[in-house]
C-alpha cells in the first residue's frame, strides 16, 4: 500500500497555522473534486472522497509544509484514501505487455484517423466530455496510472513508487491506457460527425457519416477492461 502522505512527521519547512487551512486548502477544492471524479467514476463517491480528503488534511495540517504545493498534497491524500478503498481491485495482473505492438497500433490508429480527416481532432475539437467518459471506461489499474502521469505530471518512477509497482508495469499500463483513450476519442469525433465536417462544428454538417470506417478495434486487439485483469 502506498505510504500515507499525512503520516509524515512535521516537515522542515514553515509550520502552518490552523487559520491558514481555509486559505491554503479550500481554494483547491475544485481541482480535488475533478481529480476525485476521475478516480472514482461516480459523482457521489467522489464527493465522499473529497470530504474525507479535506478532513484528513485538516487533521494532519500541522504536518503540511507551507512551502510545498497544497494541491499536490491534497491529490496525494485523495489518491491514498481511494487506493485504500480499492485495495482489492488494484491487485490486478497484467498478462500481456506487448508494448511494441501497442506503439505500432497507435500509428495505425493515427493513419486510419487521417484517412477519415480526423487526425487533427485532438487539436481542434473540445473533447472534454469524451475524455471523462473514456477515462471512466478504463479499469482502476489503468486509470490511476493515467491520472498520476498525465494529470498530476508525475514521472514514471514517481508513479511506480506511489503505486509500489515496477516501472515497467506503470509504463505498459500507461501506454495501453493511452491507446484505449486515443481510440475512444477518435470514435467520439467520428460519431459526432467531425469526419464529414472537416473538424468544423457538426451542427454545420448536413449529413452524418454513413460508412463504418476502421476503428481502433482493427489494430488494438485488447482493451484494459477486457483482457488484462485477472481476478485477485
Amino acid at each position: 500500500m502506498p505510504s500515507d502522505p499525512t503520516a509524515k512527521g512535521t516537515q522542515a519547512g514553515a509550520t502552518p497555522a490552523s487559520a491558514d487551512f481555509e486559505t491554503a486548502m479550500l481554494g483547491c477544492l475544485e481541482p480535488v473534486m475533478r481529480y476525485a471524479r476521475v478516480l472514482t467514476r461516480d459523482e457521489s463517491d467522489a464527493d465522499d472522497l473529497v470530504q474525507e480528503t479535506f478532513l484528513r488534511a485538516f487533521r494532519a495540517w500541522q504536518t503540511f509544509d507551507m512551502t510545498s504545493d497544497p494541491r499536490r498534497w491534497l491529490f496525494a491524500i485523495c489518491r491514498h484514501v481511494f487506493l485504500r478503498q480499492r485495495q482489492r481491485e488494484m491487485r490486478v495482473v497484467l498478462v500481456d505487455e506487448e508494448l511494441e505492438l501497442d506503439a505500432l497500433a497507435a500509428v495505425s490508429l493515427h493513419k486510419a484517423a487521417r484517412d477519415e480527416g480526423l487526425d487533427r481532432a485532438f487539436d481542434r475539437v473540445d473533447l472534454g466530455p469524451a475524455v471523462a467518459k473514456a477515462l471512466a471506461e478504463l479499469s482502476d489499474a489503468h486509470r490511476i496510472v493515467v491520472v498520476l502521469v498525465d494529470v498530476e505530471g508525475q514521472s514514471y518512477a514517481e508513479a511506480a513508487e506511489a503505486l509500489q509497482l515496477p516501472i515497467g508495469t506503470v509504463r505498459s499500463r500507461l501506454f495501453r491506457a493511452r491507446g484505449h483513450l486515443q481510440a475512444a476519442l477518435i470514435e467520439f469525433a467520428r460519431d459526432a460527425g467531425y469526419a464529414v465536417a472537416g473538424l468544423t462544428p457538426p451542427d454545420a454538417v448536413s449529413a452524418r457519416p454513413t460508412t463504418q470506417s476502421s476503428t481502433s478495434a482493427d489494430f488494438v486487439s485488447t482493451t484494459p477492461n477486457q483482457q488484462e485483469e485477472l481476478p485477485s
Partner: protein, 85 residues
C-alpha cells in the same frame, strides 16, 4: 557530435517515452533528429502530443462545486475548524 540515425519503427516504439521526457539525453536527441527529417513520424508525434494535451482534468459544474464546498466546510466545522464566513 554525430547522432546515430534510427529508423521509424524504433522512433515510434519510444515515442511516449520521448514525449514524457523519460529517455536518456542521447536517445532523446536521436528521436528528435529522426522527427526533424521524417514527416510521417513527426506528424504522428504531433497527433500524440495533441492527445496528451486533451487528457486534463474534466470540468465540473460550478453549482456542484458550491454544494460540495458547503458540505466540506460543514464537515470541517464539526471537526473543530473555525471558518470565516
Amino acid at each position: 557530435m554525430t547522432i546515430a540515425p534510427i529508423d521509424c519503427r524504433s522512433a515510434m516504439c519510444e515515442l511516449w517515452d520521448y514525449l514524457d521526457n523519460e529517455l536518456p539525453a542521447d536517445r532523446t536527441e536521436q528521436i528528435r533528429a529522426h522527427l526533424a527529417t521524417c514527416t510521417g513520424c513527426d506528424d504522428h508525434m504531433q497527433f500524440c502530443r495533441a492527445f496528451l494535451q486533451q487528457i486534463a482534468l474534466p470540468t465540473v459544474p460550478m453549482a456542484a462545486v458550491a454544494v460540495l464546498r458547503d458540505r466540506v466546510r460543514n464537515a470541517l466545522r464539526r471537526d473543530g475548524l473555525t471558518l470565516v464566513d
